[in-house]
């Protein structure tokens, strides 16, 4: 009953739309759901799809929202499809060729999932091939379980900070934790999100094909042992695995990768973390909160390479220096031997530049967080003459795969970690959506500079766009001026109320036209705050316009409000008819 109400509502909202001839619909329910069916290009799919949509509506109200919303946006394409009764599997060059699917996605991680959902929205008959578990790295061995651990570490840290508690007038005695309980929380979260992901795809009618996917040739994929399916377009979304440098022996107990660490099977007294990027930093946050001491091993001369230097420095001052952490920079870990025969884990370090042996560390455990390697083995790329570059699938800016000769491989795309453009779950998803836009007839190039990134330490770090050195380099090359504005969390009421005034937001912009080049935030809930900036970049909003947007008081978002207001855009640049930048 619940969904019939929803349907009638959908029908009302669709009254302005010319109705499709009733004969194509079976029964009252279907005709009342015209707002959905309008999206669907062909009759056979239409019928099948509507039936499944019913489940979708029952399953979650958000599915309904998505459907009706997209209907509004999709007016033009609907008109295009309206007259055509031809099957969706219309081949190239007008030669009808029958495919099993419109779109096959190899890999059901966050990227594949995002692409699949958008494909369904666009009316494509979609299948997703998964050789392992649905959800991929992010859900099962990455962002998701790590957030559960970080939620625990954040609270532990707060409860252990006598000073912080006292300042708030709270009294807490002896905060402690149960390792298994924490590990279970992470595992339960992953399971829950995995089920949500699976259900959402099933509900929308995405076929989940189980088995390892291999490309046999153009538009042809094998999954499992001998099932062959064809599709008009194929997206590779096979993701990545932890990268383990040579000489490091991972035993999964004392020398581990993030895959093992997320299971939190033990909390060592002293753990060395090789690599001080996002993964290493987040784990240092978890381990130190749970009582471990941490030693960072970083090949570059600075901790936290890749972050804006100023933010990195501040982050180091807050996240590293006062904690039970020390570090070795400018060194490679050439050999790491797991603990055995009563000996500790040993780590041999050499100087990154001179290659001379520098030191040997003895610790209780080592976490390898040196980045991630694309997972493209066994994908059958040789069948279509594609050669990977350091394992990554080469693509152009539209995620179209290029072969050994640099030519585009038709109907083949690669998104996410496997192409190495930007190894972030949400970037993969955005790339997937971009590809679906393209295969459904709308050219789309994703602006990677508008994709935010976040590191979920306490406090968090987030960023979008260019770092200051990158911006200055670009400015030098292209001959424009760069300015920087900064605001502190210390001036923010909400942050002070939380007694978390430590933090900085930094805006890098062009004073001549007000374009936002990059925003970097270090502070309470930085990961949630960045989106105002990333949306502005994606939509091409200029500072002189966004500075008039109103923020609720008192909220952390006022940090960004202050930031935009602190920027000094030259007068003549004010209020040009802001033209959205191609995104």
């Amino acid at each position: 009953m619940h969904y019939s109400a929803a349907f009638s509502q959908a029908a009302t909202s669709a009254t302005a739309v010319p109705t499709i001839s009733g004969s194509r619909h079976v029964g009252a329910l279907h005709s009342s759901s015209s707002s959905c069916t309008l999206l669907i290009p062909s009759k056979p799919i239409n019928l099948r799809f509507c039936g499944l949509r019913r489940e979708a509506f029952g399953f979650s109200p958000s599915a309904f929202t998505r459907c009706s919303n997209s209907q509004r946006v999709q007016l033009p394409s609907r008109r295009r499809f309206k007259g055509s009764n031809v099957s969706a599997s219309l081949g190239d060059n007008g030669i009808p060729k029958s495919f099993d699917y419109d779109l096959i996605i190899i890999g059901a991680g966050v990227g594949g999932h995002g692409a699949a959902l958008h494909a369904v929205e666009k009316g494509l008959k979609t299948a997703i091939i998964e050789g392992d578990v649905v959800g991929g790295t992010c859900v099962n061995r990455g962002c998701v379980p790590s957030k559960a651990l970080l939620a625990v570490s954040g609270r532990m840290r707060e409860l252990q900070s006598e000073h912080h508690m006292k300042a708030l007038g709270l009294q807490v005695h002896a905060a402690g934790y149960d390792r298994q309980g924490v590990a279970d929380h992470a595992n339960n979260l992953a399971t829950k999100i995995r089920n949500n992901l699976t259900n959402s795809m099933k509900a929308l009618g995405v076929d989940i094909l189980t088995g390892v996917g291999t490309i046999l040739g153009p538009q042809k994929v094998k999954f499992g042992t001998d099932n062959i399916v064809t599709a008009k377009d194929i997206i590779i979304a096979t993701g990545s695995v932890p990268f383990v440098p040579k000489g490091i022996e991972v035993d999964g107990k004392t020398v581990i990768t993030s895959d093992h660490a997320l299971k939190l099977e033990f909390v060592p007294d002293w753990i060395a973390i090789v690599g001080s990027g996002y993964i290493g930093l987040e784990f240092s946050d978890v381990y130190t909160a749970l009582g471990s001491e941490v030693t960072f091993i970083e090949a570059l001369d600075q901790l936290m390479p890749g972050f804006d230097p100023e933010i990195g420095k501040l982050a180091q001052r807050v996240l590293v220096n006062p904690r039970k952490i020390d570090y070795h920079t400018g060194v490679f870990a050439t050999k790491i031997t797991p603990a055995k025969d009563g000996k500790p884990v040993t780590i041999e370090l050499i100087d990154a530049k001179t290659k001379e042996p520098k030191d040997t560390l003895e610790v209780d455990a080592a976490l390898i967080a040196t980045g991630r390697a694309p997972f493209t083995n066994g994908l059958g790329l040789e069948n279509i003459n594609v050669v990977t570059q350091r394992g990554f699938v080469p693509v152009d800016e539209r995620m179209r795969v290029t072969d050994a000769n640099g030519n585009l491989v038709p109907h083949l795309y690669c998104i996410g970690d496997a192409n190495g453009k930007m190894m972030l779950a949400h970037a993969a998803s955005a790339q997937g959506i971009s590809v679906v836009e393209q295969v459904t007839g709308r050219d789309h190039v994703l602006n990677h500079l508008s994709i935010p990134a976040a590191c979920f330490t306490h406090p968090e770090i987030s960023m979008v766009g260019l770092t200051e050195p990158q911006a200055r380099e670009k400015a030098e090359k292209e001959g424009f001026e760069v300015s920087v504005a900064k605001t502190s969390f210390k001036a923010n009421t909400k942050a002070l109320a939380e007694n978390e005034g430590e933090g900085l937001a930094k805006l890098i912009y062009r004073p001549d036209n007000g374009e936002i080049l990059g925003v970097h935030i270090f502070g309470l809930h930085a990961a949630d705050l960045i989106h105002e900036a990333s949306n502005a970049i994606a939509l091409g909003t200029r500072i002189q316009d966004i500075k008039f947007a109103v923020h609720a008081h008192p909220t952390l978002s006022e940090v960004l409000d202050e930031l935009f207001k602190a920027a000094k855009v030259k007068d003549h640049a004010s209020n040009p008819v802001s033209e959205p930048v191609a995104v």
Binding site: V267, E293, K324, D326
Partner: protein, 479 residues
């Protein structure tokens, strides 16, 4: 980025040449500046201003203290380079402290003659990091001096009284990092290394007791003479975690049918205090006191609202006035802390808990005020409205179980105080007086527990003698 006040300080007048860096420059300069001064006859207003500091035409730029906790600073960048002309108020250098990066500006005009501490290096607070010359003429000389003194530059500096900041900060860091590379490795955990640096403990003087002989934070604290108890509290929880068994598992298995009731906050606090009290060496001294006079006084003043508690507190306070050491406490194991006020804490049992409302300045308030105050405190304790200073500011504690007929007991000394008095019931007892006459008198036994680090047997005995005199001749209590 905040701009800090200048840290250009003039080099001190030094008549007695020492090996200090500044004096080696300023002494020769004395004549130099004077000679160069008179002929040049630069702007007269400036010369008047400078009249007192003639000899300081070459100034050192010192590492500023940018925060109360800063001991050393790192030069992030020199905004000005050698030879640049500086004017008052200009930012010269960016310094990184333990908290932030800050611009340091100059109060003086001049020429940046030499940079003593280059970018990326650190120097202790107060050390010279650059040399400022007033005129071109002095630049070369300042430079030469800076160069010759260069190596030793940060070593000694005139302002800080300690001549030891010779240990330039980057050094210990290196030591800590490269220490393990020695012939036979000394391994220290990251936090242990931080503590070594913080407490200035030599790594070689510490014996590692951790796994594989590594130096743990506890080892360093022990070597630094810090009671590890401090670190136990915060780290106990995490430390126990890897092996959750020992902390959590009770030694004896639960008997069937027994129930486990967790402590209330108050009970947990009591428990914590009681465990803490074990670290204090205490002893006890008892004393019999005849209370007939006190009882008689009590009967008299009772209608005016005076309670026995107030009487005893007042008596104790008056005795403490004469024996300040019993009102003292030992905070660090090294010293006496004499308290300015006599605040008598009185133990009160309340809803399965225990709290000690404090009668502040019990020696100064009269009996009636004290009694009134006590009533208020008890009322507040009941309604859980006691403010922290109303229960944790005691300097001496009184515990009375006399009303239950207890004739004597022995109290545990609360942490942070020097002594606690346990008061038993006053009971009719046959006593013989000095002349050999027997009589029946009310006798009460009091028993004081004290911290023997600061209060010795004779101190307690003398205090108790005074106390008993006051109780046996209680007229003074009503004054």
């Amino acid at each position: 980025m905040a701009t800090l006040s200048p840290f250009l300080s003039k080099t001190p007048l030094s008549n007695t040449p020492t090996i200090s860096f500044s004096s080696s420059i300023s002494t020769p300069l004395k004549w130099k500046s004077i000679t160069s001064f008179s002929p040049s006859g630069s702007s007269s207003s400036r010369s008047r201003r400078r009249i007192f500091i003639v000899q300081s035409k070459i100034r050192e730029i010192f590492m500023p203290a940018l925060s109360s906790t800063m001991t050393e600073g790192k030069i992030v960048s020199w905004i000005k380079s050698e030879g640049d002309v500086l004017s008052k108020g200009e930012s010269v250098v960016v310094v990184e402290s333990d908290k932030a990066d800050m611009d340091v500006e100059t109060f003086y005009d001049g020429i940046l003659a030499a940079i003593v501490v280059p970018e990326g290096e650190s120097a202790p607070v107060g050390a010279a990091i650059g040399i400022l010359a007033e005129t071109e003429a002095e630049v070369a000389q300042a430079k030469a001096k800076a160069a010759s003194a260069g190596a030793a530059a940060p070593a000694s500096h005139p302002v800080t009284s300690t001549p030891v900041p010779a240990v330039s900060p980057p050094e210990p860091k290196k030591v800590a990092e490269s220490a393990p590379s020695g012939p036979r490795k000394t391994v220290a955990t990251p936090y242990a290394k931080k503590l070594l640096k913080q407490h200035k403990v030599d790594i070689n003087s510490v014996v590692g007791t951790g796994p594989f002989g590594r130096i743990t934070p506890e080892d360093v604290e022990k070597a630094a003479g810090i009671a590890p108890s401090k670190s136990v509290a915060p780290s106990a929880a995490p430390a126990a975690l890897p092996k959750p068994a020992p902390a959590a598992a009770p030694a004896a298995p639960l008997l069937p049918g027994s129930t486990v009731v967790p402590f209330t906050t108050m009970q947990a606090a009591v428990s914590k205090n009681m465990i803490e009290s074990l670290s204090v060496p205490t002893f006890r001294v008892g004393y019999p006191i005849i209370t007939d006079a006190l009882d008689a006084l009590y009967e008299k003043v009772k209608p005016k609202g005076v309670t026995m508690t107030a009487l005893l507190a007042k008596a104790a306070a008056m005795a403490l006035v004469q024996h300040p050491v019993v009102n003292a406490s030992c905070k660090d194991g090294k010293s006496f802390t004499y308290n300015a006020n006599i605040n008598i804490a009185v133990a009160v049992a309340i809803n399965g808990g225990l709290i000690t409302p404090v009668l502040q300045d019990a020696d100064k308030l009269d009996l009636y005020l004290l009694s009134q105050k006590w009533k208020e405190l008890v009322e507040k304790a009941r309604s859980k409205q006691l403010q922290p200073h109303e229960y944790n500011s005691g300097t001496f504690t009184l515990s009375n179980l006399g009303m239950f007929g207890v004739d004597r007991f022995d109290a545990i000394l609360p942490p942070g105080q020097g002594a606690i008095m346990a008061v038993g019931a006053s009971k009719p007892t046959v006593v013989a007086d000095a002349d050999g006459f027997f009589g029946v008198k009310s006798k009460m036994l009091v028993n004081v527990t004290a911290d023997h680090r600061i209060i010795y047997g004779a101190d307690l005995a003398a205090f108790l003698q005074t106390f008993s005199k006051i109780v046996e001749n209680p007229e003074s209590l009503t004054l």
